[in-house]
Subunit: 182 residues, 2 copies
Amino acid sequence: VIINSANFTEEIAFSTPWFDLLARTLPGHASPMYSLKLPDYVSVVAETADNQIVLVKQYRAAVDRITTEIPSGYVDPGETPETAALRELAEETGYAADPATLQLAGVLTPDTGRIGNRLWCFYVKAHKMAAPPAPEHGIESLTCDAPRLMELIGKGEFECALHVAVLFLCATRGFLKINSLT
Amino acid sequence: VIINSANFTEEIAFSTPWFDLLARTLPGHASPMYSLKLPDYVSVVAETADNQIVLVKQYRAAVDRITTEIPSGYVDPGETPETAALRELAEETGYAADPATLQLAGVLTPDTGRIGNRLWCFYVKAHKMAAPPAPEHGIESLTCDAPRLMELIGKGEFECALHVAVLFLCATRGFLKINSLT
């Protein structure tokens, strides 16, 4: 039998500047279920006219290493996911999107067991800004073509599952051409 | 400039039965970065001889709704990821895997910004057990073919980004045949 109705009691067990740890106690349960409450995520596959995908490298404390990812971040209060995606792209990489090419590939849930927000997945055409803003502290941008990105995935060097999911949506919707993993 | 070396100080800010909330303070930072410390995840795409993919439905408190996902769970202490994948498949669905067909599609990181564990992504051929164990409380299993699964993804009814990432790896490695999202 699937539990269908919630009517849980909820409290914030711990608060951080970036997220709250929620404790939700379901009817008939002695112990709460814990999950993260945080703003929605956006991630964007930005591709140049010569089919280069824009990536970011940064140190990630959660995994204690430098990762290679697509541009991503939180939707700020009052912001649309579309605006957030283009803002994160510009802030993190110095690439400007052509807003008319922005496509929503889908809306996913990052981790249904642990995280309560949504992940807005975008594709857009982009070009290097003539005068990019000062790069965000600690973030470097780079570009590579899709075959090279698939190589990075195959070697575990592009490892964020959220961003692999964005690639899936962009590829299966026909926005991005990818090849096989070998 | 990318931060390269960590040497953070670390403490457990909050503890739950399923994960710890870690607070890591980097050198020169006043405030810690918070992330979840938890056992590795496994997820498995299990496909029957007639190309049905085995799915699970369950209520998820983090998102307060019933989700449709692939079988998944934690790697228990002392267990290999391979054993965990086959155990979760059997416990959650009553399907038995043919262990000789088990393939590791890749190892990802669920959320490099918030979660410190790994996600082990498997593909396996499976069949309905003659005498399945009592189903796990609150979990129902179902099957569908790949075109139907793509429909569910397109409609946002198969929404867990972690599991979409597993499908990406299985599809691009040639384990699973999928079609376009429309």
